[in-house]
């Protein structure tokens, strides 16, 4: 089965396509038995990929948005305008007429680039069939390149928009590279038009020594869609990463965040918010690999789960032998809005060193009836009171989004997502 979809897509010409092809032929697709896919309905994803995805024809440079009327105003609504450059891709293909550019100054560049000039070779550690499928495909990738010592103040916004076209399969690819002591804020928005879409996304982030990156990943695709996403980050010495993932859309969404601390004294704050409702399935899979000494990582993921939905969090922490001074904290909190909602949480710590401080904690709770009554007793309608309590829970994550316009945009989306229809 692995090869049949792979045979139907337009294949890239670079070395990573060859690597991906070889890997896929040898290993195939993940299954429920794979630890990292335990909570993902991978059979449903594969059935959809196999049955519904027809041949994809990718023509580099074609203005694909002509076939589906998407306007800049639509992009404003779906992704927001956050004051910096906004590079828009439709089904993984660059849409220049929807993009806006702002000068970033010398040593900083963002835009679209074909697979001919891939920035670095694909890593096949903790690799899987979906990453391989993405890397196999010909693409125009989003690229952010900040050279050593350059600080960019404007937020760089990459929008990957999925539209329910005949081919269905969108494989956006993003590369973010910060040189030594470079600094930037990058927002990746995955959104889409209503309808059945299938997005298989791959993002690669490389942080040089002492680099600072704020990375926000917002997923608000169609509630009928499927979203499989991977973000792979390599952190250099003394680098700082602040990463926020917000998951609102898709019928089935999975985001795997794989971080390796390559250099000493690297720090990462990994935060996430997922809000499945209806029959949505949201799956967060984190792997934090402390491969160098004195790394500190703090994970905080929060789920707000309604109706018959299911949200899951798996946090895998690896502390390598011969490292010292690692500090790793992991927290997962869940708020269930209905008796039928379900939360799964699973810490997975693999510690091969002695001088280590690791904590993990998980909670699953419901809205506080006393607080709800208190607010209602002051005249605040039940729906509003409920929204206030949910917002109070979610704001701990949303408050860390930058700039303020992104906070506002996500705040409104969260509010719509958690409104009670009863």
């Amino acid at each position: 089965m692995a090869t049949s979809v792979a045979d139907r897509i337009a294949v890239g010409e670079g070395a990573d396509a060859a690597t991906a092809r070889a890997w896929l032929d040898a290993n195939g697709w993940p299954g429920r038995r794979d630890e990292a896919w335990k909570y993902t309905p991978v059979d449903e994803i594969l059935a959809s990929l196999e049955v519904e995805v027809v041949a994809e024809e990718l023509v580099i440079g074609e203005v694909v948005a002509q076939e589906v009327a998407v306007t800049s105003a639509d992009v404003d609504d779906l992704a927001g305008d956050h004051g910096g450059p906004r590079i828009v891709f439709v089904d993984g293909r660059h849409a220049p007429h929807l993009s806006t550019s702002h000068p970033l100054g010398d040593g900083a560049w963002c835009g679209a680039r074909g697979d001919g000039d891939a920035a670095e070779p694909v890593e096949v550690v903790r690799y899987d069939g979906f990453q391989a499928l993405n890397h196999l495909a010909a693409h125009e990738g989003a690229v952010v390149e900040i050279h050593a010592g350059i600080e960019v103040d404007l937020p760089i916004h990459i929008v990957h928009l999925a539209v329910p076209t005949a081919s269905r399969l969108a494989q956006p690819r993003t590369t973010i590279r910060l040189g030594d002591a470079a600094r930037a804020t990058v927002i990746e928005t995955y959104t889409g038009l209503p309808g059945a879409t299938f997005v298989n996304a791959s993002t690669t982030i490389a942080l040089g020594e002492g680099a600072h990156l704020d990375h926000h990943r917002i997923q608000t695709e169609s509630a009928e869609g499927i979203h499989v996403g991977h973000t792979r980050t390599n952190s250099g010495a003394d680098s700082q990463l602040r990463s926020t993932s917000v998951m609102l859309g898709a019928a089935i969404a999975r985001h795997a965040l794989d971080l390796t601390l390559r250099g000493e004294h690297a720090h990462a704050n990994l935060e996430g918010l997922y809000l499945p409702r209806g029959y949505q399935r949201h799956d967060n899979v984190l792997t934090v690999d402390h491969a160098a000494s004195h790394g500190t990582t703090v994970q905080l993921f929060k789920g707000v789960i309604g109706d018959e939905a299911r949200g899951s969090f798996g946090g895998h922490v690896i502390v390598r032998p011969d490292t010292v001074g690692t500090s790793a904290d992991q927290t997962n909190r869940n708020l269930l809005l209905a008796r039928t909602a379900q939360a799964d949480t699973r810490p997975w710590l693999e510690i091969f060193a002695d001088d280590v401080r690791c904590t993990h904690g998980a909670t699953v709770g419901r809205l506080d009836d006393d607080a709800l009554f208190y607010l209602r007793s002051r005249g605040i309608p039940r729906t509003e009171a409920r929204a206030m309590l949910i917002t109070a829970f979610a704001d701990e994550i949303i408050d860390h989004l930058t700039p303020a316009s992104l906070r506002g945009h996500v705040h409104d989306a969260v509010r719509r997502q958690t409104e009670d229809d009863t």
């Binding site: 506080d368 009836d369 006393d370 607080a371 009554f373 208190y374 607010l375 209602r376 007793s377 002051r378 005249g379 605040i380 309608p381 039940r382 509003e384 009171a385 206030m388 309590l389 917002t391 109070a392 829970f393 704001d395 701990e396």
Partner: protein, 249 residues
Amino acid sequence: MLHIQGLTASIAGTTILRGLDLDIAPGEVHAVMGPNGAGKSTLSNVLTGREGYEVGGTVTYDGNDLLAMSPEERAVRGIFLAFQYPVEIPGVGNMYFLRTALNAVRHERGEDPLDAMTFLRVAKEQMAALDIDPAFLSRSVNSGFSGGEKKRNEVLQMTMLEPRLAILDETDSGLDIDALRVVADGVSRLRSPDRSMLIITHYPRLLDLVRPDRVHVLSAGRIIRSGDHTLADELEVDGYASTVAAAAS
């Protein structure tokens, strides 16, 4: 204004109120006193619409069936409960909360919502009168407040929302003498010919500062004795036991 007849309430199979009758006219201040377990908090919960009780009997408020209304409907129509244990709500700002509540009540009265600046001015005036630190507004609702701060926050809300019927559930409990005076002054300022109050308390000390028009003794889910404010003094001297025993014989 409030007419309670044959009110019964039970929770999880345990009957707490067993046919309570009480009438409160506009402008009157009534006190309900009673020993622990008499049903005092249940009475305030049932009047404000807390879920979880099996309720019987009738309660009419301004001629309308109070028991058929949701908690928020009762609130916007002018019923206010000062909680015995105000709830801590981390993450919800006190100012946002108060303004949302005030504007919900104003909406019901047909008044325009207050903008943030006007609200802030009004709130600060009232806070000064209640000796509340202005920094209070930027904190989460009741989060990390001391017992006295929580009770003063209740009186602040009551002052801002201008209820027509204020129910004070053990508002004096847990207060030192200075805080009690501040709270009592706040309550006294709210007395007016068209505002009624129901003060529920175990101890008569708040009643020394806010003289009620009527005092009722609640025991085992019923009002067993009523009188004027001198009844409170009598209870302070004799305790509840003799009144309860006299009613039983």
